[in-house]
């Protein structure tokens, strides 16, 4: 036996040496110029169809890589011309776009107003269930092709940020006109997209990788063809593994760094931490139609009792900002004078006492009329959510409030939340775009308070809030909008239908050798056409 084992050992050793040649390399560059850039993301893309897509990073690849939206945002979140080289507004009621001549589909055909109209019609058709239709085009009534380069849109009513209704990319009519709208989400096109953007599609292997290459015909005025030879997205679901890939050079971009990984990225000389204020706000949603949350004083006291800054510091390693409401602090429309409610447990106790709550039986939990101030706090099984609710539970215990934690699988939680079958929930909201009235409208407008499956899952109904939301979404003057938003925040502070917890600071990491990287609210991938390796 001994002899045999000895024989076995030798081939293994030699195999390992053989492998050294294969794995010694640093990953990355395919050819001598090392210009293949590899980005790691955690979930696979969904189909690359601007009309039917619903997922975030796919949307970014569509908007910044494969396709060309009508308008784009600059770093101050102003709308700038993109596929549309100019526009003419007719008061607040209509807008006419003139398209660039030099943008072509990747099969060589020009992008025309017919394509834009075709995309508009698809997005408006409820059979496609398009997010463009519901999120962007809700207040656009009609589209009319004037000539191959000119298209006119008419609005249903004057409204805020109207030009931002057109931050979406057209699809090629000549390739999709034979697909029925209901089948659009399953169209083979979505896995073999022919776009119009700076990158062309090469290959997509599910759960493995997406390969893009520069589009040599992309107009110089929009940045021209990207300098990278190829851009490869690799799908690596586990955060720890993805970071390992970044550190060992297997990827140049790690799109999704966890707060507790930030220090490791910063300490490594070869990696750079990218952080920017994001579009995700976390909140405690109180069921406003259930006891004890029907009383605004109770909700206010709960907010005052929760030390949100401590949660940001301890659980997010400081990568977050305490939130006051659903309009983000970085928005041009954000009223800068707004302050979130402070952490004042003493005042919380007073408020609860004034509202009639006292610990009459000495069990440490306040009660009123024989009912203890206790409720179930539900959340999903994500690690961050679990740890936040545990801290919240502890902090509320200090003021005599008993929260019982219920951790559920995400879909299960979502089901209960939608059915309004909950006391309190810890969840989050991601802004789809920069139209600031969208979130307050969906979350707090009373016309959705009873609507089945709506986002107003806490059953919030307040005439004053309604009026302010409507005013804010109808005003076309930014200065006036800020005044209205300030009033909105004032009212929100009194009502506290939610306790807004924090805006997440998004974290990503890149290899130091990767240049041209810029990340902000517009997304991690917004600068992808400019990425290049030293």
């Amino acid at each position: 036996m001994r002899g045999r084992a000895g024989q076995l050992r030798r081939p293994i050793v030699s195999t390992l040496f053989l492998l050294a040649a294969a794995c010694g390399g640093d990953g990355g560059g395919a050819g001598g110029d090392g210009a293949t850039i590899v980005a790691g993301i955690r979930t696979d893309f969904s189909g690359f169809n601007p009309v039917t897509n619903t997922s975030q990073y796919t949307d970014e690849v569509i908007k910044y890589g494969l396709f060309t939206p009508l308008v784009q945002y600059d770093e101050n979140l102003n709308v700038v011309p993109w596929l549309a080289e100019s526009w003419q507004e007719e008061g607040d009621t209509a807008v006419t776009f003139t398209l660039r001549e030099d943008v072509t589909w990747h099969d060589g055909r020009p992008v025309t107003a017919e394509d834009v109209k075709f995309t508009y019609d698809l997005a408006k058709d409820s059979a496609t269930a398009s997010l463009i239709g519901s999120v962007y085009l809700d207040e656009v009534a009609s589209a009319e092709v004037i000539d191959p380069r000119t298209i006119r849109f008419v609005f249903t009513r004057p409204h805020a940020q109207a030009l931002e209704d057109f931050w979406w990319a057209p699809v090629p009519r000549h390739l999709l006109q034979d697909v029925s709208p209901a089948e659009l989400a399953n169209a083979p096109f979505n896995r073999q997209p022919v776009g119009s953007g700076p990158y062309r599609f090469v290959e997509w292997q599910s759960n493995q990788r997406l390969v893009l290459e520069p589009n040599p015909d992309f107009p110089a005025a929009l940045g021209g063809p990207p300098p990278a030879r190829r851009l490869v997205f690799r799908i690596v679901p586990e955060p720890a593994t993805l970071l390992t890939e970044l550190i060992t050079g297997g990827v140049h971009v790690d799109i999704d760094v966890q707060p507790d990984q930030a220090a490791q990225v910063e300490q490594n000389a070869q990696t750079v931490l990218q952080s920017f204020p994001g579009r995700t706000v976390y909140y405690l949603g109180w069921n406003n139609q259930r006891e004890p949350f029907t009383d605004p004083a109770v909700r206010q006291a709960l907010t005052l009792a929760i030390n949100r800054q401590e949660i940001v510091d301890a659980l997010l390693s400081g990568y977050g900002e305490v939130a006051a409401g659903p309009v983000p602090p970085w928005s041009p429309l954000y009223p800068q004078e707004v302050q979130p409610l402070p952490y004042e447990p003493q005042r919380a106790r007073q408020l609860l006492q004034q509202a009639g709550w006292s610990d009459s039986n000495g069990d440490g939990v306040l009660d009123k009329g024989g009912q203890p101030l206790s409720f179930t706090l539900m959340t999903s099984d994500r690690p961050l959510n679990r740890s936040v609710v545990e801290v919240v539970q502890e902090q509320l215990r200090d003021v005599g409030v008993a929260a019982e934690i219920r951790v559920l699988e995400f879909q299960t939680m979502l089901g209960l939340h939608k059915e309004r079958d909950f006391d309190a929930v810890f969840s989050n909201w991601v802004l789809d775009n920069f139209q600031m009235a969208a979130a307050p409208n969906a979350l707090f407008h009373s016309r959705f308070a009873e609507a089945e499956g709506s986002a107003n899952r806490s059953g919030v109904a307040d005439p004053q809030l309604d009026r302010l939301i409507e005013q804010a979404s109808a005003t076309t003057d930014p200065d006036q909008a800020r005044v209205i938003w300030a009033q909105f925040y004032q009212r929100l502070g009194e009502l506290q239908p939610f306790t807004f917890m924090f805006w997440l600071e998004e974290l990503a990491a890149t290899r130091a050798a990767l240049e041209g990287v810029e990340m902000d609210q517009r997304g991690e991938l917004m600068s992808m056409p400019d990425w290049r390796l030293q």
Binding site: A22, T54, T241, D432
Partner: protein, 328 residues
Amino acid sequence: MAAFALRRLLGAIPLLLGIATIIFFVLNLAPGDPASLYFNPNVPPEVIEQVRRNLGLDQPVHVRYVRWLGAFFTGDWGQSFAQGRPVADILMEALPNTLILTGTALVLVFLFGIIAGVWQAVRQHSWSDRTLSIGALFFYSMPSFWLGLMLMLVFSLKAHEWGWPIALPPTGITSVEYEFMGAGEKIQDRIAHLILPVATLTLVLSAGIARYTRGQMLEVIRQDYIRTARAKGLPERRVILKHALRNSLLPVITLLGLYLPFLFSGAVFVEVIFSWPGMGRIIVDSIMQRDYPLVMATSFVFAVMVVLGNLVADLLYAIVDPRIGYET
């Protein structure tokens, strides 16, 4: 034997049908809704209703069951809700990857497990026996996702940091440059990517086989016929490898059938950690997304593989033990 195999295969049909039925109802009765892929709450309810109609979810669950069953057994496995393409296409991409991973691991699990077990039995109470026992217990009690991360930490991250001659690629099935490689490099690249995931599965699972083989061997070695074999002057190697091993293997083969579910569930973790694009990844994602057609198809394929694995184990009995026949 062929008749036996055929009978077993036919017997598997109601079993698989039962499995499929249970999965279908458990899945459909679980809370959650595939239409919530579009859970962006700005989407108006009528649009979500349209999505549900597009997906066929507006029908009651028993109607969906009958439709699904009919289509499923006529080879139409439907469209994935989340990916918008045929389930069969998705499986055809992922299944080979999982088979490479689990197949390699399965062979190595039994190979290493049996070698270690025999070695220990022959050298009972020696230091190598004790070391292997402790090692086996160590890996046996280790969760595969943790072991996987540790292996990656040492053999990719630290190996890279410390400048070892070999740093294994932490994730994926091939390198990014794979398509530009020569044939020899391609094979090396594939093997390099296989090592860590296969090692994770093998270390955890072969520990059990080693313990079991050792126990069986010790029992067999004490038998009279082994003493007889030694007494008639056979070389020790022949006594152990031919007379003792063959008889100890019989119960170990039973483990083949029992181990397949462990192997597949282990593969789910390993595939996620090492981003191996196989069935495990798909089943996790599809359950999270309530992508019913895809969950059904993947769990069904896993069920088929387990049933087939058990059948193979039964057939192997006959090969190892001539006393067992399946003529009747």
